[in-house]
Symmetry: C2
Subunit: 560 residues, 2 copies
């Protein structure tokens, strides 16, 4: 290590460690009349929020929660979840945000693996919880969350109901200082194989992520995504990387926040309209669902700004949203990265071309946000040129990446091989910093001796007017190694066969965008494409389905 | 310390320490065509900036600069200064920004006290430098900065001229990782007594300050002060708390930057017009000077956003600026605080009153920015209520406050007494977080048994139409303890005497804003009010002047 000048601090100096409690020193104080809203059920202001965080801290402490304990939450997006995102880490405990879309077996696995000591469970999940209760190895006590009049449930070791506990608790809690490298949150990410893996983030990491995210959301050239007078509602679950960390940003700045519970399109659209929501974020699937919702027909979302992440943003969705008054911004990140890594950004001086050309940049994964270092790596660990052409694995360094998977030394070492975090995504990086995700490493198709991006092919197919949704995977082919197989959902009253799709793709072959082996020789028309618990295309499941259909000689397959 | 959960990072994980080099990973890459401009002399883009930072690092290393060495800069605001703000800390050395408005003796004192090993000196300061050269105890080598055709100077141990050295240096430098708690910058602050004191900031502190400042400048309710398409020019010297840290923010975001050299009103106004500057910051005096500049007459600054700090912002200046198209935002900080502590912020929901009422909030010191904890302390170290009424010393905690004064253990301990940084300012803090600075502790006037704020009295006097500038100090009075004494600069062609001032202040006494002892019994009309090197009213000097005038029975004193 370089011998730099280091001066020990004055003995009585306070160094103000980067703890989550410091995020409550600004917006919460000077915007105290701003509201936090939960569906049409609860509405209170920041002054009350601040008190409730202290009440929750007291209730948890009285229930026996100690610093270092892990406290799990099973809830839909709510004001209660937001309170947990602050109070649990602020008393030195670890918040485990349970992915309630996993199977009961997977939830059980994650709760035992994370060593959860306390669980806050929404009454809607009580049946699920009761199914696994007897197999939980570390849970000592439970707290009930409910919107129903019934304030109790038949689960073991129930301390009480959340609101009752808060009502009985003091509004004062002297939140202590401790090491900023203490774990604040943990949650589990599902890979394509094996058990879910636990990522974790420290107070320091979450505070840094919050500051960097706030600086990006405020300063973007084309559109200010989040200023203090915006109204924010997440449409990415709070269990999924803390709703991309934006509740922390919104709270720090003192922005009005709206929590929608579970994602029912009608409720989402109604909250947007009635609470005057101006800023949100979601995966493409949810946006599509909202645009199609009966209650949203004829409604102009004018002025709504939405960050799209989780899956690639395609041109068709960008334009469909724009036609309804929604300004989309692409962003990129993953569970391991806290998550914000890059965000769409158009420098007006640089990209003075047609709107069509600009859109081709807007739908990329964006440019790295402050403090993030991105590079493209070859399989041997060498870094590849950032020329917009060379493909390789996207690797990252930043002050808020998970330092490993909980209790998984082997997988942790693989994640951080060569001193960079491996994303598992194939990408290019251009001279202006734009990240362009080409595919998941596992989803790249090798056909006719050439690499084909399933994402790129999905984008081209989605431009066909009959196509509502598409997924492409590679299937084994004796002659070409692999050939692409396309799963399609077509629009109501329309149809498409393999020949029609070929006609649609031919011009792209002629232009040289794709090679001739890229035209799928087989497609399947389905009513629904399988998705993972966080709304991404579930390609593992799709491959299994295709194998079964092929074995059965299924009738809805169309072959060239 | 609480026993929280701490997981050691995976061995190969990169924790990305908070080093200044990380600020160059975002804006500099994706805004590379944006410009950095120095007067009408130099203009280049961020790609070149990035190369020049590497060239400077190589040139300094070749000149013998090692990690831990202190490298001093004596320059006006320039692109070179910006390059030094990055390259010097990025090689692990310490940047000493010399306050070139101090006396030669004081500069000599600070250079020896800081243990400067290398000095970069602008040719305009060569005469000054030669006067102290022989008494410098630690300087080994010098580098010349110049805008003149002559690329050499007669100073000892001259390595060469900056541009020549950069031209000969490589554009590649592999900036190392090191401890984020390494000192990055130092500079000296002049108190009312004794020698200047050296404050210092670490890489970690500067990175955190940059992120928090960016988040505030981007997200403010009423006006976005700084987005990536703004054009920034500092009008607070770069030697003074790194021009309030905003060059770091602008560079991180990739904003066009304009550096004006020395502050000549005509040049400043011309650059604002020609380079389309939209965002700046300065002390009230400089703004007043610009508004009065002959070249600015008739010019509408439409759209210019300016942060005012360093001294209190008064209503008259706020309104005068507004009439010329300038939107002012008050901010508060000091050399010891990096400096940003609070920033003017109007929540439209809360402050829905008349514009006149809103202005009374706009000219306060604002509300604490994220991560800053502010409190009001009594002389015994106890914290006082934040009720908007109770006055006490403003004390602070935040992750970017200086940890002490360099080599001054006694003064460092006083600065951090009771675990809070002491600002020396008397203030109130209200229920919405607004800080209202009432006075410097040393400038409060005790008259007729009551405390009187010299700042408040200055504000009331400045509302008289004949008054251009005013300073109030307390002078000893056998009957009342102290009485206020006002120094006035009146507008051209106008005059004012003590009786006229009394007439002006009477209504405020009647309203109960001030008590009757607050009306100055003596005033002096002067052509200029003494200021410190950073443009604040120099009350120490004013008291000395008054004592001399009184002793001499000076004719321009007017007595009730």
């Amino acid at each position: 290590m370089l011998q730099t000048k280091i001066i020990p601090p004055t003995e009585s100096a306070n160094q103000a460690p980067l703890l989550i409690k410091r995020l409550l020193l600004s917006g919460v104080r000077y915007e105290k009349t701003r509201e936090i809203v939960y569906r049409d059920l609860v509405r209170y202001n920041y002054a009350t929020f601040n008190e409730r965080v202290a009440r929750l801290a007291n209730a948890l402490s009285e229930a026996g929660v100690k610093a270092g304990d892990t406290v799990a939450v099973m809830d839909w997006d709510s004001h209660r979840y937001l309170e947990c995102m602050f109070a649990i880490p602020m008393i030195g405990a670890v918040l485990h945000t349970i992915n309630i879309r996993l199977s009961a077996d997977q939830i059980l696995y994650t709760m035992n693996h994370a060593e959860d000591k306390f669980v806050l469970v929404n009454s809607e999940f009580v049946p699920l919880y009761k199914g696994i209760e007897s197999q939980l190895t570390t849970v000592a006590k439970t707290i009930l969350l409910t919107d129903a009049p019934e304030k109790t449930a038949d689960i073991a070791n129930l301390v009480g109901e959340y609101e009752n506990l808060l009502a009985a608790a003091s509004t004062k809690y002297d939140f202590p200082d401790f090491d900023e490298n203490s774990v604040a949150t943990t949650f589990y990410t599902t890979g394509t194989t094996g058990n879910p893996k636990g990522v974790y983030f420290t107070h320091r990491q979450l505070v840094l992520h919050t500051l960097a995210e706030a600086s990006v959301l405020g300063s973007l050239d084309s559109v200010r995504l989040l200023g203090t007078s915006d109204v924010y509602m997440p449409i990415t679950p709070m269990f999924h990387v803390h709703a991309w960390g934006i509740p922390y940003v919104a709270t720090m700045l003192g922005v009005k926040q709206v929590y929608p519970g579970r994602y029912e399109p009608d409720m989402l659209c109604r909250l947007i309209r009635e609470e005057k929501v101006t800023f949100s974020h979601c995966v493409p699937t949810i946006l599509q669902m909202m645009l199609n919702a009966p209650s949203a027909q004829g409604y102009d979302f004018g002025g709504l700004k939405v960050i799209i992440g989780g899956s690639a943003l395609n041109r068709a969705l960008y334009e469909a949203a724009k036609a309804r008054g929604i300004q989309l911004t692409a962003a990129y990140g993953m569970s391991e990265t806290c998550p914000l890594i890059s965000c769409g950004h158009i420098n007006d001086e640089l990209f003075a071309g047609s709107e069509s050309e600009r859109i081709s940049y807007r739908i990329k994964a964006g440019v790295p946000v402050p403090l993030v270092e991105a590079a493209i790596m070859a399989a041997d660990g060498s870094l590849l040129p950032a020329d917009g052409e060379t493909q390789g694995e996207l690797v990252l360094r930043a002050p808020w990446l998970t330092m490993g998977y909980f209790n998984e030394p082997q997988k942790s070492a693989e994640l951080w091989e060569h001193g960079w975090l491996h994303t598992g995504d194939v990408a290019t990086l251009d001279d202006f910093g734009f990240i362009d995700i080409r595919d998941r490493i596992k989803d790249v198709i090798k056909t006719g001796g050439e690499w084909l991006s399933s994402l790129e092919l999905e984008d081209l197919i989605s431009r066909h007017p009959a196509v509502r949704e598409v997924a492409v995977v590679g299937i084994a082919d004796p002659q070409w190694g692999e050939r692409p197989f396309a799963l399609l959902v077509v629009r109501e009253g329309q149809t498409l066969d393999a020949r029609g799709l070929k006609e649609h793709l031919k011009p792209f072959v002629e232009q040289g965008s794709i090679n001739k082996w890229a035209i799928p020789s087989q497609i399947a028309l389905v009513t629904d494409i399988p998705k993972t618990s966080v709304g991404k295309l579930d390609k593992k499941r799709i491959r299994l389905d295709i194998a079964q259909w092929q074995a059965a000689g299924s009738a809805f397959l169309s072959t060239l």
